[in-house]
Amino acid sequence: MCLAVPGRIIEINDAADSLHRVAKVSFGGTIREINLACVPEAQIGDYILAHVGIALNVVDAEEAEKVFDYLRQMDDASGTKEEAL
């Protein structure tokens, strides 16, 4: 369940309290205001997972690559050379 979509933070409006801290987040160019109360560490340029108007977390860029490392290993193991991702 629970549609959560990765988007990139392009602007942060720091509020007086963390509860109202919001960002403009771009989803492929469409922008929506997303609340950052649950991701105080989020910075401009980060990708966050947005669900019903709040950021659930900051996408871990390093971990995101690992699934592809794994697939590359599969490629190597099977001896086929495929184009780079």
């Binding site: 549609l3 492929g28 160019g29 469409t30």
Partner: protein, 351 residues
């Protein structure tokens, strides 16, 4: 039980579900289809009603003419890329063009709500004039009514149009044959998302403008190049999916489209992703599908890209033989799934 025949009339719609009209009955999806099939068409049945198309074609003194009508109730009445006036002209022109008819004359009925600013009305009238001029049609008759404040969304417009058919092709769903290619003239979903972005409660910021555009010049250029057009359909409410399902049903054929070939702009996709919408169901106002022989695809694409700037025509699928009508989409993983008409309005979802 009363003797008045009206009281004995048994409404064929599943009344237990929806005893009154819902917005979804006008959404271009299944509920609207049901309303047409069960109530409207049987009431007014004629030779025309079993070949449903965007406009009706008839012959007078050896001349083939097309007639169509459409009402415009869009909210907001002004939106990025156009307004209700632009839509009211282009929409009706497009319905004529989809029969291969050159649009000639239009009528316009304005229903104005008390309190509508004169300035807004003026802007809308200017949009209508401009759209009509661009398409080379004349608005020659009309009507104006005013309703009490609160009884309308500022302005509703109805336009009817008459066009002339100057070729011998039969451009209609029944001319579609297995082996035909299916083209679309450009990217999908811009109009629907541009409108939806302005809704309170969704508050999306986009640079997406409605794709609202007149389509006759594209059709004309295909016709004059001798392209053997089998069928045309403009994609409006209900999106690509509903248009294809309707055509497949009337032609009793199987249409298969490739998911990876569907053109959708990145920002439109972004909006669809966060709202949980499928671009094949999102409304368009300047897009149409073309059914034509496979051998003429590349020429048609070349002509379409040349005539209208901003159109990026692509082939999205083919017509196949089938023992019953259906539309399938081949997923990026190569599995065909059934594409259905949407049940009603497409609603943003969370899960």
């Amino acid at each position: 039980m009363s003797d008045d025949p009206k009281d004995n009339f048994r409404c064929p719609l599943p009344i237990s579900d929806y005893p009154s009209i819902l917005v979804a009955h006008g959404g271009g999806g299944k509920l609207m289809h049901q309303l047409l099939e069960k109530m409207i068409l049987p009431t007014f049945s004629s030779d025309f009603s079993n070949n449903l198309h965007d406009s009706a074609v008839f012959e007078i003194a050896g001349t083939r003419l097309a007639i169509t009508t459409d009402s415009y109730v869009v909210r907001p009445i002004q939106f990025p890329g156009g307004d209700i006036g632009t839509l009211a002209i282009n929409g009706t022109i497009n319905d004529l063009a989809m029969s291969g008819a050159r649009p000639l004359y239009l009528s316009a009925g304005l229903i104005l709500e008390e309190g509508l600013p004169m300035k807004t009305l003026w802007q809308i009238l200017q949009s209508m004039k401009q759209a009509a001029d661009i398409a080379g049609v004349k608005l020659i008759t009309g009507d104006t009514k005013v309703v009490d404040r609160g009884k309308g969304d500022g302005i509703y417009i109805n336009t009817s149009g008459v066009g002339i058919i100057e070729h011998s092709l039969k451009i209609e769903p029944r001319s579609v044959v297995a082996g035909d290619a299916v083209l679309v003239n450009g990217d999908l979903g811009r109009h629907g998302i541009a409108i939806m972005a302005t809704r309170e409660g969704l508050s999306l910021e986009t640079r997406i403008e409605s794709d609202c555009a007149p389509l006759w010049s594209s059709v004309q250029s295909l016709l004059s190049a001798g392209i053997d057009i089998h069928c045309l359909r403009d994609l409006t409410r209900g999106g690509l999916a509903s248009a294809l399902v309707e055509i497949a049903e009337t032609a009793n054929l199987h249409i298969e489209i490739e998911e990876s070939h569907l053109p959708v702009r990145e920002d439109v996709r972004g909006a669809c992703e966060i709202l949980g919408l499928d671009p094949v169901y999102v409304a368009n106002e300047g897009r149409f599908v073309i059914f034509l022989p496979d051998s003429q695809v590349s020429r048609a694409i070349e002509i379409l890209s040349r005539t209208v700037s901003g159109f990026t025509p692509v082939r999205i699928g083919s017509v196949l033989n089938g023992d019953r009508f259906s539309v399938t989409v081949k997923s990026t993983l190569g599995v065909a799934r059934l594409l259905d008409m949407f049940s009603g309005e497409q609603l943003p979802r969370i899960c």
